[in-house]
């Protein structure tokens, strides 16, 4: 057996969207294995199917054919209850549009997943405060999302994704709605957390800032895996670009 555990395995996944008159083949057979504890970026032009792939891995949508395994469990075989459990405990989601619950405060947003996981109220509040500290939002616990900036909202979303100590964090364009430096902060935060907690981070993105921190980059083109690059291959490439710029 290989030395690293495969936390996510995708085999032959296709996804068609039936638009009535025409059927759009978004994913045309994706095979992918992701090792535990790695920071993976799924890169590709818009419309290449990376968000669709992201949704398949997260169990948010069902593939037309093929299988997705999380921790060697085929998620198509799970019932609603087990799927909810998987989303609650195993996976943390971060979205481009933050998707915080607008009527709840920052702290309440972070504690919802813990409530679903059956954590007692006091323990959830305490852990929520610790997470707020970790993402650099000390003292902001009673602010509503509308009272926070985009970067702060995304930090709350990162804290929420970490609430139940998931094995995987799925981030769909986490920096898409943020300015350059705020986006870098979020990327750095994700990378630090990934290293500290041995969490697998999978982010769909077309933000090239992500490349510097990625262990592996999966390039998606036209519904297929174009190429998979390891970090050392990338370093040569970016190094080459930098020297060309000077």
């Amino acid at each position: 057996m290989s030395e690293a555990k495969k936390i996510v395995r995708v085999t032959g996944v296709t996804k068609d969207f039936d638009l009535g008159k025409i059927v759009v083949h978004v994913l045309k057979g994706i095979d992918l294995e992701i090792e535990e504890g790695k920071y993976i970026s799924i890169m590709g032009p818009s419309g290449s199917g990376k968000s669709t792939l992201f949704n398949m891995i997260g169990g948010l949508d069902k593939p037309t054919s093929g299988k997705v395994f999380i921790d060697e469990v085929d998620i198509a075989q799970l019932d609603a209850y087990e799927l909810a459990w998987l989303r609650c405990r195993k996976i943390g989601y971060i979205f481009q549009t933050f998707n915080l619950i607008p009527v709840m405060t920052a702290l309440e947003n972070i504690t919802i997943p813990m409530t679903f996981a059956g954590v007692s109220n006091d323990a959830a509040l305490q852990r929520g405060m610790e997470l707020l500290d970790q993402v650099g939002l000390t003292g902001r616990q009673s602010h509503r999302p509308s009272e926070l900036s985009g970067g702060q909202q995304q930090r709350v979303a990162v804290a929420r994704a970490l609430a139940n100590s998931p094995a995987i964090i799925l981030a769909d364009e986490p920096t898409g709605n943020l300015d350059l430096s705020t986006g870098e902060d979020i990327i750095r935060l994700l990378k630090e957390l990934s290293l500290q907690r041995n969490v697998t981070v999978i982010s769909a993105t077309h933000d090239y800032k992500m490349l510097n921190v990625s262990d592996q980059v999966v390039w998606i083109r036209d519904g297929r895996v174009d190429k998979i690059q390891q970090r050392d291959e990338l370093d040569i490439k970016t190094g080459g670009l930098e020297s060309a710029a000077h």
Partner: protein, 222 residues
Amino acid sequence: MRRLVALPFAKSFQMAYQSIRVRFFRSLVTTMSLVLAVAFLTFTQAGNKITTSLVLSQDPAFLPVLSKIGYDVNPATADSTSTDNIGSSAKQRWIVFLSLLVCVVGIINAQLMSVTERFREIGTLKCLGALDRFIVRIFVMEATMQGLAGGIVGALLGALVACSESLFSFGLSSLAYMPWRAIGTIVLYAIGTGTGLSLLGVLYPAIVASRMLPVDAMRVEQ
């Protein structure tokens, strides 16, 4: 190991309450249509009961007013047929039924909109591990709270208007013949009807919303 996903009752109550409080104005509009329908229902029912008890009293002070309004005050027929007619004239039942029907359509519309504007929120909750029935439960609780509030306000308002109307037409002496117990029963029934209508309005949109795939729910433009 049992794979447990839970939402304690108190927590879902808190979420529902918070949601109403933050969207107070929208909730108020939904509740208002309920208040009006329940008030109308209580008003007609309680008004009938009051008039019936006045007719049955055969007090000479009320008879001219009663016959002027159009009631048959002949003692021979009063206790058999006409009193029944006061309580349940087909026209009145029809009007009450129509007003409730309009109210239900209004509530379903308001609840559909309030559920639709929260699709993204519902999708997010499902991503965080909420089961379909958590979503339904939160919406049902919201509807129950709105239904109870609207029902209580509406029923009291209707009963109050019915009582003051009879005081106005028949004078203070009619107070002696007020069927308080019957009015109380009507108020309770009206509150129950209001809550039931509110639940009826929210169930369909809530069940539809809870069954959506998270990705579909979150794709909705806001």
